[in-house]
């Protein structure tokens, strides 16, 4: 504890809880008022409060990927509007990837200063994935852009509201430059409403407990986070750890690109040094520096204490080092639409470096891709245009004590929901032929503990002229196993045309044309296994076969268990 205070500890605790509750409330308010599935189903947004300097106090997250971003948005706002240039009622809009808090243009942030007695005491901020921000392709984020200007509208820290008055010109620019203005503006108003909820709650707290108490509670909150972090840091192995891997492709024909990390853990620092990774690239897999910080924060939390409340105090021991203009610290004007694939790659590097040394905390590798799918076309019954923008579920890695989970969203996502088949078939011009767990047949994910299964989701086009854009990372380099556990399987997709011909597999593909009864088979990867397969109990292997998770051949070849195809009786083979 670095701050001493005369306010009693229970009041501080109660105010701290009230701040967290306000953060939760802002988060829920945004989901419930949004008009876009990407927000209300996928929860691809975050909201929170910072102190007057931009230090994060509380953040409600639907996905992990935003964990570093709100605070940098606020700091950028303070930089652009110094002194008394921020006024009560101002709301700032920001999505510039190269500025603080930027990821890709689709993620639009709003920042609102909260005033009390004429002084800024905190900021309310949120950032949400808009279905549309313009650009060359429907859905805006694309996998073959070559500069930022193809990716949509850029808001470089502008006043959307000036002292409570909305900037009509800006609203009109948005309305005429995006494909689904009702959705985008609907989400913007939802974001504004959520910010005001935060403002209202903080005002109430100030009135009830006095401003001084609130400011003391804010310090208490940050110190509390730091203290918990430092305690966890003490338990980690000290030293230097390395990992290398690759980003598959930039989407426009280049790659793979090498990435690397050196993790140094000391008594009071956790340093991730990404120097030596690939320079920024032509296609849109470049990640902003903010994105990289989010990646590192995410895995840092996973390693230290995933259950804690998140604030900037927690991250005080963390340091990130990277070359300028690298694939994970992109600068204007390289494209960044699919930044999340490199965010995931960077996160996975730290994970991979540390997994062998933290067997009780980290699992084997996962399918590690948002596996984004964008499908556009015309609904066969209503003739209205439709647009699917969705991430996909896949397999997670096994750990030293349990099998990996099947059919989960990747680490960059979180409280993200798949779109139910019945909802998809009602809303979109497709039918789903299959939504099932993947059976690899080649021992993928085999281990003492097996990797979680990837899934197959097949869309059948019900009208002509549809286009599907698929961005599957980890297509060339597999989810890694640990301690003799097998690697998993790749993310990939095939297209089975109505005439029966099959095309594929592909990982990244822009705008594949689909006509009626063409089927796109989306297959996500199975996660890595943990431990040698022959250590898996034989009765468990027999049950895996009965359940269809592995074939009889896989049981024999990799697990060394002979399973009867009818009775599922088994016998162990030599070598176990």
């Amino acid at each position: 504890m670095t701050h001493s205070t005369t306010i009693d500890p229970f009041t501080l605790e109660i105010v701290k809880d009230s701040l967290l509750a306000a953060g939760d409330e802002m988060f829920v308010a945004l989901a419930r008022t949004s008009m876009s599935p990407i927000i209300y189903e996928v929860l691809d947004y975050a909201s929170g409060l910072t102190d007057a300097k931009g230090n994060l106090l509380t953040q409600g997250n639907g996905v992990t990927g935003f964990i570093g971003m709100l605070t940098f948005m606020v700091k950028e706002t303070l930089k652009k509007y110094p002194g008394d240039q921020l006024k009560p009622g101002d709301i700032i809009i920001i999505n510039d990837p190269y500025q603080g808090g930027g990821s890709h243009l689709s993620d639009v942030g709003l920042v609102m200063p909260i005033f009390h007695d004429g002084e800024i005491i905190a900021f309310s901020a949120n950032k949400a994935h808009w279905t549309e921000v313009g650009g060359k392709d429907p859905g805006s984020f694309t996998n073959d852009s070559v500069d930022i200007f193809q990716e949509g509208l850029q808001f470089s820290c502008l006043k959307l509201y000036d002292e409570g008055k909305v900037n009509d010109a800006l609203v009109e620019i948005i309305r005429s430059n995006v494909r689904f203005p009702d959705l985008s503006l609907g989400d913007m108003w939802a974001q504004v409403a959520a910010l005001r909820t935060g403002d209202r709650r903080l005002q109430e707290l100030c009135e009830k407990h006095s401003k001084e108490t609130i400011l003391a509670a804010i310090n208490h909150l940050l110190d509390h986070g730091e203290e918990i972090s430092r305690q966890e840091l003490k338990k980690l192995p000290k030293g230097t750890f390395y990992a290398e891997d690759f980003i598959d492709t930039d989407g426009v024909g280049n790659g793979p690109f090498p990435i690397k990390v050196k993790v140094t853990i000391t008594d009071d620092e956790f340093i991730c040094d990404f120097r030596g990774s690939s320079p920024q690239v032509v296609g849109p897999v470049n990640c902003s520096y903010t994105g990289l910080v989010s990646a590192v924060r995410t895995i840092f939390l996973a390693i230290t204490n995933p259950a804690q409340d998140v604030n900037d105090g927690v991250f005080r021991p963390l340091k990130v080092i990277v070359d300028p203009k690298s694939i994970m610290s992109a600068e204007r004007p390289v494209p960044v639409s699919n930044y999340f694939e490199t965010l995931l790659g960077s996160l996975d590097l730290v994970w991979k470096a540390m997994a062998p040394h933290l067997p009780n905390r980290l699992t084997a590798g996962q399918f590690l891709s948002v596996c984004a799918v964008t499908l556009s076309g015309t609904h066969q019954d209503t003739d209205e245009p439709f647009l699917i923008v969705e991430p996909s579920v896949g397999g997670w890695g096994a750990s030293n004590r349990k099998d990996g989970e099947s059919g989960q969203f990747c680490m960059a996502d979180g409280e993200t929901y798949n779109v139910p088949v019945e909802v998809a078939e009602t809303r979109y011009g497709i039918m789903v032929d299959e939504y099932s767990l993947r059976q690899d047949g080649n021992g993928a994910g085999a281990g003492k503990y097996i990797g979680g299964k990837g899934v197959i989701r097949s869309y059948r086009a019900l009208s002509d002229g549809q286009a599907v854009t698929v961005t599957f990372g980890r297509n060339k380099f597999l989810p890694w196993g640990v301690a003799d556990g097998h690697d998993g399987s790749p993310n990939e997709f095939y297209v089975v045309a109505s005439n029966g011909t099959t095309d594929g597999p592909f990982g990244v593909y822009p705008r594949y044309k689909l006509d009626t009864n063409d089927v796109v088979q989306l297959m996500t990867g199975t996660g890595g296994g943990y431990g040698h397969p022959k250590e898996r109990p034989a009765d468990q292997v027999a049950m895996d076969v009965k359940n269809g998770y592995f074939t009889i051949e896989e049981a024999r070849d990799y697990f060394l268990v002979e399973v009867d195809p009818v009775t599922f009786d088994y016998k162990e083979l030599a070598g176990r």
């Binding site: 229970f10 509390h224 995933p306 259950a307 059919g407 798949n418 939504y435 099932s436």
Partner: protein
Amino acid sequence: MRVATDIGGTFTDLVYVDVNGNIGVEKSSTTPPNFEKGVLDVIEKSGVDQSSISMFIHGTTVIINALTERKGAKTALITTKGFRDVLEIARGNRPDLFNVNYDKPTPFVERYLRREVSERVNYKGEVLTDLNTDEVKECIEYFKKEGVEAVAVSFLHSYRNPLHEQQTVQLIKELWPEVKVTASSDITQEWREYERTNTAVLNAYVQPAATTYINRLENELKTQAEIDQRYIMQSNGGTTKFEKAKEAPINMVESGPVAGIFGAAVLGEMIGEKNIIAFDIGGTTAKCSLIENGEVKVSTDYYIERDSRNAGYPIKTPVVDIVEIGNGGGSIAWIDGAGSLKVGPQSAGAYPGPVAYGQGGTEPTTTDANLLTGRLSPKNFDYNVNLDTVRSAIDTKIGNHFGISPEDAALGIIRIANSNMLNALKLISIRKGYNPQDFTLLAFGGGGSMHAPALALELGVKKVVVPIASPVFSAWGMLMTDLRHDYIQTYIQRMNDLTLEEIDRQWEEIEKNALQHFSEEGMESANVEFHRFADMRYLGQEHTVKVPVANGKWTEEARAQAISDFHKLHEKNYTFKLEEAQTEIVNLHVTAFGKVEKPQIAKLNRSGSVTDAQKEVRDVYYENKGWVSTPVYDRDKLPTNQVIQGPAIVEEKAAVTVIYDQQKLHLDDYGNIIIEKEDN
């Protein structure tokens, strides 16, 4: 005589009301695994003459226990070809965002017992592929061989066209009459295949156990007395007859807790309070629910085993909206890794219980804090309380850490516990667009009356009611219930495209179905009352708002009214409305009540003086005031309609009410404690 019994974790409660409107209560131990024994015990202990029971209403935890303890039947599932893994993939969400070791809920049916058959219906309900009955027969043979005890059937779009599910169930019943079988569309008619499938699976899973339990209870009751009216409490706040309960036992998943919420609405009606926040504090949790204009809110957004870290299992049956938090009398106070005081969600439970019980509990609880600060007296316990042990536990575990006295530490525990509860109360009120000042807080359960007055001051609620029979209020609520069935039908239709004939046809079909159900339960149609709602949203939006809509034939006015009410409700719930946006119906919801004649509760009219009701004066430790001499009254001796100024304490069997110096209380005509803020 009308008798209600409610099985809880520790006690089975009984409340009766006789022909003169007099109320009696009894408690006896819950007797797992033969829960019906506890029911018979409590009837016997109460001295109720069994031949005089004309109506028997029952709340049970048998269903939720079978689920949480995984003691249901070996269950299999039949799905549409290509979709047997929907149950395992679920929604793919991970509430515990940063936890790479996250445990996804394990499906209740293993993969080898999930079989697929060829059949397909599209989103409009049109059959694209006929049901392949040969494959159904293969499933039956396979399941028989595997020793399956219950089967769930769930096909895509069955909410729109249940034909194939019905055909499958029919076939199974013909070929395998011994097995229990559930069609998803018989339990819920809402879209979203994972949620519907899981609901069907859980119904199948508990059905054998539920049937056995109800049969046993029925038989035991029969040998004792012939009771023509036997009802079971459902999660929607209404009852159903024993026979119906066996078909869809999943409807009883929250059988007990919702009765208290429903009772709050009924009691509110009796005393002229339409807007109520019902608040129930037990040993391990606190539950609250908001009642607006006398209406208990019911939805199908219900999960078991779901919290901020776990995805849980959805059950799409109508359940009273309850927010539950892990804070009750037994919640443990502890210091977290960075030195902050926390209370709950860990509970000392019934055993060892709080330190005060002297059964070996070493962790200080909210109850211990209430004892040390004089809110409770050692005399309130059925145990030999050692106050020194309690003080020392609070001192070593909490007080020392902050360098404060054990009494101040105890006050800290109470404040943190209250803060947790306050956040739950705000969640259902302020955050949903309601002003707590427009509501009365009705507090019950063992700890409700202890904390409610302090919470009312924080929340700005003007009035607190501690009802008659407050420690067994759920059972009291059951006495007042009607038969109730909720029918929720997914029906995606834009309001502007809707033809009135079409929607009338939909409503009529649902209501015809309801009348059929009631007639099977022996309820005359003259006593049936319908309430219609439409779950509506803006086109493109996901979340719906439940809008009360017109009964009878729809007119253009009814349509316009529904749209304009939707805009208003949307603004209330979500702070904005989009008047130019298109609106859409997602579900039609009919709540059907089969009205049962209710007992009249007798008035009390107890005279005498307040002084005569005073038991003692004891020192109570208050925030900013220190020890204050506080009079303690016996609730059973308090005269009606005489005012007591706070601070004061009122004791009754199994509950204590604490009011503060800004508050006053009186006993109303029925014996309810009414607490109000002093007018300044």
